[in-house]
Symmetry: C2
């Protein structure tokens, strides 16, 4: 078995779309995903799982119903299962997501922003 | 419920020991841990889980039985369940680990390098 290391910046360079997370590694039944994001996402929640957001480059705001979480490069937050949230980035921002394999980007909502799961970079 | 963001560098500044992973966040039944490491760890494996290593600062070598994985800042690797490995850092290196809550740092081996689990930073 060949065990390959992954370079985050090299993977990010291959991503051209916004709000379309790409899987770059798996651990047990979890996936590590990278995404470029800009402007507003939609309000949604994940009923079945927590979701971890790391900011690799840029600034990300995660709007919650009663507060906002402002994340800069090198910062992370875990949005608990069932908590409605809306990510937002004024300028393009590069993020890492960690969540179970079957997690859909728009959670409980199906919209034009819902993307196919399990797309690798 | 207050949802707190976490700044990785600020957490790292609070860690003084080598090879003693500190939990800084949880997602479902997984934990995010930070560690400062230097010199050789021991050979071990995790029979029950894969283990993700991210290099935050510095360089980390993960020796496997038939190869070595050389990681620099911004690189990661997932060591699969059951694969014997030995991390090594020539100079002090700062890493993030992601693994299930109950994961012991020395896996299947109990040694003087085994540390108490679930220590937070």
């Amino acid at each position: 078995m060949k065990i390959e290391k992954i370079n985050i910046d090299q993977k990010l360079k291959k991503i051209n779309e916004h709000w379309s997370p790409r899987v770059f590694a798996e651990m047990n039944d979890y996936q590590f995903k990278l995404a470029k994001v800009k402007d507003e996402f939609i309000w949604h929640k994940h009923e079945e799982t927590d979701e971890a957001f790391f900011v690799i480059n840029g600034r990300l705001t995660i709007e919650l119903k009663e507060e906002k979480v402002f994340l800069e490069k090198g910062e992370m937050v875990v949005i608990p299962c069932g908590v409605e949230h809306r990510p937002f980035a004024e300028e393009e921002c590069e993020i890492m997501l960690i969540e179970p394999k079957e997690t859909v980007n728009t959670g409980n909502i199906i919209s034009e922003m819902t993307v196919k799961n399990d797309q690798w970079v």
